[in-house]
Subunit: 322 residues, 6 copies
């Protein structure tokens, strides 16, 4: 009954001139559910799981919060000059249910859930959940694409080893991923890094794993364009996974997160950095660590929704290039 925008044969968001934007189910960007289409090029999925968190919990409520905050997204992205929902069939793929009481089992469920999409030829834009989920997502991606390049936007390195002798937490996914051979260690970079560490060894380990670091202060001093050029240079044509921890931005922009650090990126910088990735061979992406209990007026949710939208637009521009 609800009228939808259809372009290029792709079923898009509800028609907001007939149904108010605030009405109806909170699918991402008011897009159709996956069961309402025959094939999906890209699915936005939620992984509402926060069992790996080391400070403030609550990202389990992240996916639905970001969906609710995405209702204002419209179909054409002028910053990338693309109508992503017209270029590709984008859908809301729902949430992956994962056991909140057992880390190992939860991670396996996430891997299985993600792989089911990839197997059907659907690319994922995943909304967390805490950053632990990047590990099973990378497992699923690497199983399909082999080791991938990684751009990791985050205040933190997330290459720590264990916490309370637990190897699988939101501070460790990329160390595990390197150990498991999921990453192409020639093309790994953190962006937005800042804040105190446990020791200089954290930096040495991280470097040893192959990561480059662009701190948030580097972005201030060098500007977005220079940073983008360096990142593109490092990544080249490799299959690329983009993982965005919302806390790469300053707490002013993203209060609703679990381990905030002062001195972060502004949202405009992050969006421009992402837009600078146009044409790269992105095979997977996530936006994680949105903790709604600490959000106010949806500013974190809206920032996350825009990040997701620009990531989907990047998928769409690959489609155009191809």
């Amino acid at each position: 009954m609800t009228q939808r925008v259809v372009e290029n044969g792709n079923i898009g968001p509800i028609d907001a001139s007939l149904t108010p934007r605030w009405a109806g189910p909170s699918t991402f960007a008011l897009l159709p559910r996956i069961d309402e289409v025959e094939h999906a090029d890209v699915a936005v999925i939620g992984v509402p799981w926060d069992t790996g968190v080391s400070y403030r919990p609550g990202t389990r409520f992240g996916p639905n919060h970001v969906r609710q905050s995405s209702r204002l997204l419209r179909p054409y992205n002028p910053a990338q000059d693309v109508s992503p929902f017209a270029e590709l069939q984008v859908v809301d793929g729902g949430d992956i249910a994962a056991n909140p009481f057992h880390i190992g089992e939860g991670i396996e469920q996430i891997d299985a859930g993600a792989s089911a999409f990839l197997d059907r030829g659907t690319k994922l834009l995943t909304i967390g959940g805490d950053h632990t989920i990047a590990l099973p997502l990378l497992r699923a991606v690497a199983r399909k694409h082999g080791p991938v390049a990684l751009l990791h936007f985050d205040a933190h390195l997330d290459t720590w080893d264990t916490y309370f002798h637990e190897p699988l937490t939101h501070g460790t996914p990329f160390r595990r991923a390197v150990e498991e051979g999921l990453l192409d260690t020639e093309a790994l970079c953190h962006v937005g890094t800042r804040g105190p560490l446990y020791g200089i060894k954290d930096l040495k380990d991280d470097k040893r794993f192959g990561f480059g670091i662009v701190t948030s202060s580097d972005v201030y001093y060098q500007g977005v364009r220079e940073v983008v050029a360096k990142l593109r240079d490092r990544i080249g044509n490799r299959p690329l996974y983009v993982s965005v921890d919302i806390d790469c931005m300053d707490p002013a922009y993203t209060p609703g997160t679990g381990t905030p650090e002062a001195g972060g990126l502004e949202s405009r910088e992050l969006l421009e950095l992402l837009r600078g990735l146009a044409g790269l061979n992105i095979v997977g992406a996530d936006i994680v660590e949105v903790a709604p209990a600490y959000d106010h007026a949806e500013i974190t949710g809206i920032a996350a929704a825009h990040v997701a939208y620009d990531l989907i637009s990047l998928y769409a521009r690959q489609g155009i290039k191809a």
Copy 2:
């Protein structure tokens, strides 16, 4: 894929022992969508429309807020000793889209949307939206059942005449309903009334229309059981519409509303008053005036979800009696 509780052949909420309660779409009480079942006995629908509001706006976001706040509802109601989703096929019927810029057109759309459910033999539990929506809902109900008895839980009378020479606002639905012959004027009662009026004429008009008044102080002095007895006496076997303005409760219990008045009911009193209606012939019900921008920690949303749940349980107990 999502496992659901099925009892008596009725499809119920998702199985929360397999899918966490916070995951998946925010249907009311995690019930199925109407398109997932063949027939619905009761549909919970949203009317996200607040164009008739006279003070704080924002109830347009009410339905989805109450749905999100209903995730903790479980299938068995011990206070009424009934499993409503087992007795009846209850579904989430989605939202009625209504024009926010034209009161008259919006009201017609709500009437049409509600009537479509009633025509299919589905009873409604409607989540507002502002109280204006009670008028089109009563039109739809009266078209099917003739003039109905009305129990109206509210801080306000809502029998005013016009506001800015507009006859259709959230302060006027029951005056209009009396004028249109939608109500059985032998069996009308406000409960929870309090707060200042424009003049004593408000009370005189209201009485002339046939309304009785049980103020919130009356509930304090008489207690729930005495009030219930009087209400049942007044209503008898008549077809009954129950309209609950969330502001019948005190602002402590329901900060998220538009025209709060101190000195209101506590949530326990309201729930017990509703439970006292068991066995009455309820033909329609709504819960309105939840304004999420003023809510905190979902306390208003949760109160509304419980009101809705006990109203649905009343429907179910009719089913049992029949």
Copy 3:
């Protein structure tokens, strides 16, 4: 230009059917300013001063917060069957400016400001500010009426001696008032008292000053009607000052206050207790300790506005009786 309701020759609130309630200056209940009328029977004044506070500060923002929260008040009070703004000329008398850096000087300014109203035959309903202000208000009242009876609604006794060797704080006004002979020690009572004290000596001192105590639990066990009867008995025909600390209510009803104690009155009880004072010879009244930075959705402000409104209605019913 703004149309106002005029009854019995008294200029009342703006006409809310022509000017929206949310528009225009935040005078109390949208009443005229004192310079807009020739004579005022009752002035609502603010004393935005919180220098005597012993825990959370911020009641300096109380008066304007309560005014903003009073915009929904309408002219007729059905609970007392009176139209206070028709019976009496009630105005917003503005704020008394008082030095925030010197307690003594501030208190003198408050006394002088209040006395100026009393000298012109205007009764006061004062919005605080912290409870220290009751002392200069009682000084002004006693100068005119002699020692007065006192009904004191509060979680605390406020008859402590000094704090950091300062005798004038929000914990001491009534001890000072007794010492200064401002109170009729035959007719003093605290209502709503609860929470821990420094020692049993606090109770003994308090009793020695002549105070009776009705705890919040007493109100629970005895009910409003029994308590009212006792209070009226104690007060008789004496000139009476009513001082309402908003924290007599539970923090659920009044989060926006500085020294909250669990286990308090509900707003309905407080309002009914006040209404029970009808016909008594009230010569002054205040509502204090509203700290907006801790309020949410104006629930504290609205409770305070309703308290003020019922106190003004008590003034009006004296007018009727006389």
Copy 4:
């Protein structure tokens, strides 16, 4: 009684060394009311009207929120080296009352209210309300000055056509203004634009109407000084209307608004852009879309108050030049 700062014969704010800044009525910047002076050069007025809003409502509470948030403004603006309240008689002109239930009637009331000021030779700094109000304000201005240049700070274009077949909403004022010949189409520019659109046609229409666009990213890449130079070049000596939608800033700076978009301006950039307009021939200005229910700690209100203050300073510097 309240002492005021008087300079150059102009009556200014209350003297904050005698009356605390938090005391007394919330006129803008604690300036006198218009009825307290004989002539006003500039009036700050409120238009508390939000009937044209397409997502979160609530800007009806905007004017009084911004006034409350303006209490810290002092008389001398070092960034523009001017004492605006000394150069010009600036007053608080109160609110224009407009029918919230009928868009057409509301807009006519706003036009009439604004025109009454302009007819008396008073320039306006208007606080919204939603952006729909720019249309009647431009009608009033163009009636006096003919078609005007427009600088429009906003995340959105606001040149859409209709919404729910309503031509007068907060997304359409500037399209209507072009159609009605109120704007000088040689000198129109949006600043701060960003976020998704319905389609590329939105941009084409906008360009056809004569608008230039400086996106928020352009401001990042070019810097304030370069942008200012281009804007001044485009505008020249034309009579200029400046319309500031608070959402031109990032939600981090202005959570209290109705249609927030990530990636916006920071407040410092906006203020510097405005200061760059010194000497231009400004004939009208507004600041709109402040929705207090979503604000926190007045950060949106304070940003709006500073925008208003720098706009008034621009008026004052014209006075100096003349």
Copy 5:
């Protein structure tokens, strides 16, 4: 250096007439740390662990929040006519560190931590943390005292079996405790119960384990005194453990919790119910499920602090009786 109140040789809170209540470390009620005294009769300890939670997480921040909210507690409890910190040496025992990633290990650490206190003859008042922690606390208590009577204040039964095949969660501690023989099944009672269940089997199981139920509505209809009489009758002289889930109160009183249910107790009722237990043989007590991210103005924290204070007072009155 900090001056402390000393009575009966027991070291009490800081002297608030010399050090402001808001200064210094947030020990419970500003009491000394355990390492500042030689022997402790009662220790208030925190168990900041929420790994067993089934909906909103965040009670890991509960203990420090309740401590911060306890700064206003004074030494004499007039409701129980006792000075608990004079009768007994009460201290802040700090927090038990427990592994947040492994439920089993965490529970063992809590048991060990609690037992260390009990072994030294110190009784515990434990602040959670989620309700899972009641299991290891009961293990420690039963090891010392044998099976104990249980008064369980809660909206929920907490006698469910497993959740995601995990037997140790905050919905299961009392089922496990019965199974492990930690409870005296002749003397078990839930108080404040309400809200939907999974099925009538939940009630049957619960009854089979020996529990009585006093619903929140029972408290409304019977009143505190009647309920207290029944509870005392059931418990007699048995060693008693009192477990208070903060959600036994209504969300209006305790928004800061994880699984709120409408229709709960008011704080005054809960405190009076607890005071009614005076003289019973209490051997352990906890207050759990305070989730600060959802609290506002510390109303939940303050309610919890008062609950803890009245529980400690009960310990003290045993001391007096003995």
Copy 6:
């Protein structure tokens, strides 16, 4: 019992791999208390005193809020390549208790409290409290070091004269300090200044006292590196006091403060400016004006904690150089 990180013989924070970061007392950065070590090189102390405030009060709760917000700080600062808690013995020195009712006495207590640390050879990093406290802190520092250079990060000049004829307020500490000869008037600079003043005389007075001004807009136009160079040039080798009013940052970054002004610094700029001071001869530092009642999600508290951490790191790098 709690395990601590020990490096270079200095006792550091608790070991967060054994005790969760959210557990245990809120000392700054989870550092030891001063009584747990033999000698302290640097003490973080609180001065919870806000009696000198001219608008929103509440910074009395600042120190404990910043401590709570500092739990995520880790031992190694990569931005300055230093492990401050390894280089120096840093401790939490607790709070200085100061009379909140008498400005003069309070200031003397702060001076005495600070001097006691300095006498023992311990440098201070002080957390306010309002900015008045900079005066007694400078008195203590100058008594030891003679007149000092001052870097003052603030939206305001704080060189005003009196307020309500009180010379000691949070708007006057640096005027008093100049008058008392505490400052080296060759080396004084404000950074982050903006917002309206009372008159141009404010600027002239300020210049006369010897202050330079780097406005927040200067930081925007010149960039951090250029500003740092100028500041270092001005200061040279002089003993330097760094006073950071949190309101130097924009209200978006620091809503929790008392006199916010739009157009401020971002947190990244402030941190980089501070890091630019490495090697200077810092003899004292404070971070003031954090008002928790207006904070959200600890964003102000976290920003303050990071400022404190980078200031401590500056102390540590002096240690390294020496």
